[in-house]
Subunit: 363 residues, 2 copies
DNA sequence: ACGAAGTAATAAACCGGTTTAGGGCCGATA
DNA sequence: TATCGGCCCTAAACCGGTTTATTACTTCGT
């Protein structure tokens, strides 16, 4: 409360030098002698001086902050483990450099554009992350026009001139399909995310090609919306088919969990009559009954890589490529060999040998 | 890209007036004539002028941003629906005033304090929210010392001189207990959050007093940690008791979901042999099998109220009290009358009349 | 011994706003 | 008519840093 924070002017006065000298000394720049520098640093330390972000931001014409705009409703955001991990990763990189993260959560695409405009117009951030990429997304162009450095999350290289940090979903989905095929499944369905999102279509494509690569024909595919309601509805549709699938690959954990519950509610035994896989490895996945087989991605590392990339971009550097690990499949109890219709074999006999068992292995 | 953003100096030059006049005109302050004001506004509009946050922040000695530091691991954060809703609420209030939210996600209490110090030292924010209050929390004192306006979330009034925005958990837990008692339960356990957190102890206290108010004796209570693993472990402990409870009130949905799965995995029928209630109304709760009876809180409204309060505090006003709705119990399928041990009555007969059914009612 | 090159430090401009002090100019009052 | 008080506007200081231009003083080379 009492007195205000000391400024470099205070430091300069006490040390008996000019403002400029203090600035040079504190930033390790030439133009000031060794012992004078020592003295200035000592005075700054004694006075408890810390740089004012506001002053610095104005003079270097940088906000020293980056932005993340999330267009989601609280319902879809609250159970999606992606952003929590992603933001954690971002922070680890930003904090090293004294940068901070400005978060905007908006509900619709309209206010999302408005949000970016405001961030750019007021100069609040030096760059932004772009997530939840849509096919034919207008935002990269908007941000280009606004002159705001941007790192696109999850767009495969070659989709445009934009700087992107990419983890390929494909290996995760492929591993799930291969796992199911190895267990003996031949009728494998997919509950996809919206065709509007690139991770919706890419996971769907990965599912289809993995199945054809195995010499099989893709089963039914229902396009849903990544929500619990959507997962439940899609599952009902699939189970109502004349030839219901023996396994369903869901595009995310939330739909998989809701779908699994729906199936159980209809009296379907899992994994006896139906195998289920998810995507995300939600913290809940291991604690469900049965525990969910799902694909895990290093989202924290992804966030960190994206942040390094954005900071490099802001500094005008190219930004090195960072190798990110591919998704891995975590096999749990929700997948097992299919049983032929009507076979009443007891559950434990129907459980196949699980190639990679549960989580300790992946710690 | 091309030219830089126009500044008030540009506007002044084009309009043929001084910088000061432009500032007066743009801020609606007296000191400039009506028609001159019109002209200045027109020029500013033509030039596409927008205020520079950096310049303004420096001259008014305000950051025009507020901070939220979250000390959680990605695992616990990713499935907790609280923060998504809370942040959404905050945004609705902040965006009206041109304020922004700086988010820090850190992993431990150590870096949390460091985080606050940095926010204060660099003057990056004008105030902060304090969540996840602990008993004997050191942070309010720290923020007091740092001179950072603070709004405490979820501390009942009277616990200190600090400005707080509060929703009482108690009605939610009480309603759950009363619901269970009405169904006929007499042995009701509780899986509590850590005694370290105020919402851990307050929910536990609410459970205990609701039961004694009903003329019963509280059943076993196990202190856990709000995590899925903790919920599963606690459930195992309770079911291993010589006289296991017929109902368990969990302090949050995550533990309830993991606990329900654990019980099902042990062959316990829910709600036939065991009723379960959660707290939060996670977006998943309605889609589980059985759907989870849980308490819902208006977290978005809470966030909005907290933001209004903090902005008022920053402006030096008192900040009016905002009435927030109490938690309401959403009754779903995970609660039913208890069955006496060994009774083999079919499930549908054991289901009691549900006083308030599912969600449409609460939309 | 003299000019060139380099070093240490200062004064001042600058970033983009806000705010204060003060100068003309007007009409109203004594 | 001289004085006072408002109104409209300008000039300049200010917020807290960074950065450039400039000056004073060394040191080096020949």
């Amino acid at each position: 409360m009492g007195t205000k924070r000391p400024t470099i002017t205070d430091v300069a006065r006490v040390a008996g030098v000019s403002k400029g000298a203090v600035s040079f000394a504190l930033n390790g720049k030439p133009g000031v002698g060794a012992q004078t520098r020592e003295r200035i640093l000592a005075v700054a330390h004694d006075l408890g001086w810390t740089p004012s972000l506001r002053g610095r931001a104005l003079s270097v014409s940088r906000a020293l902050a980056v932005g993340l705009v999330i267009a989601r409703t609280p319902e879809t955001l609250g159970v999606d483990p992606f952003f929590a991990s992603f933001i954690t990763g971002i922070e680890t990189a930003l904090s090293e450099r004294g940068y901070a993260l400005m978060l905007h959560v908006v509900s619709d695409a309209q206010s999302e554009h408005e949000s970016y405009r405001r961030l750019a117009a007021t100069g609040r951030v030096d760059g932004v992350f772009l997530t939840d990429m849509r096919v034919d997304d207008l935002r990269p162009q908007l941000l280009d026009d606004l002159g705001l450095p941007t790192v696109v999350i999850g767009l495969s290289p070659g989709h445009g001139p934009w700087s992107s940090v990419y983890i390929d979903d494909q290996p995760g989905i492929t591993a799930a399909v291969e796992h199911l095929v190895a267990l003996g499944h031949r009728n494998i369905s997919h509950v996809a995310g919206p065709a509007e999102f690139v991770h919706g279509v890419s996971r769907r494509a990965a599912w289809a090609s993995a199945i054809t690569d195995a010499g099989l024909t893709p089963g039914a595919c229902i396009t849903s919306d990544f929500s619990a309601q959507g997962g439940a509805d899609a599952t009902n549709q699939l189970l109502d088919l004349p030839e219901p699938p023996t396994a369903i690959v869901y595009a995310n954990d939330l739909m998989a969990i809701a779908g699994m519950s729906t199936a159980i509610g209809r009296g379907v035994d899992i994994p006896g009559q139906l195998s289920i896989t998810g995507f995300d490895d939600s913290p809940l996945a291991a604690y469900l009954q049965p525990a969910l087989t799902t694909a895990r991605t290093d989202v924290v590392g992804w966030g960190r890589a994206a942040a390094y990339r954005l900071l490099a971009l802001v500094d005008g550097e190219k930004g090195c490529e960072i190798d990110l690990p591919s998704p891995v499949l975590v096999v749990r109890a929700s997948t097992a060999p299919p049983c032929h219709q009507g076979t009443g074999a007891p559950l434990k006999d129907r459980r196949g040998p699980a190639p990679i068992r549960d989580r300790k292995k992946f710690r």
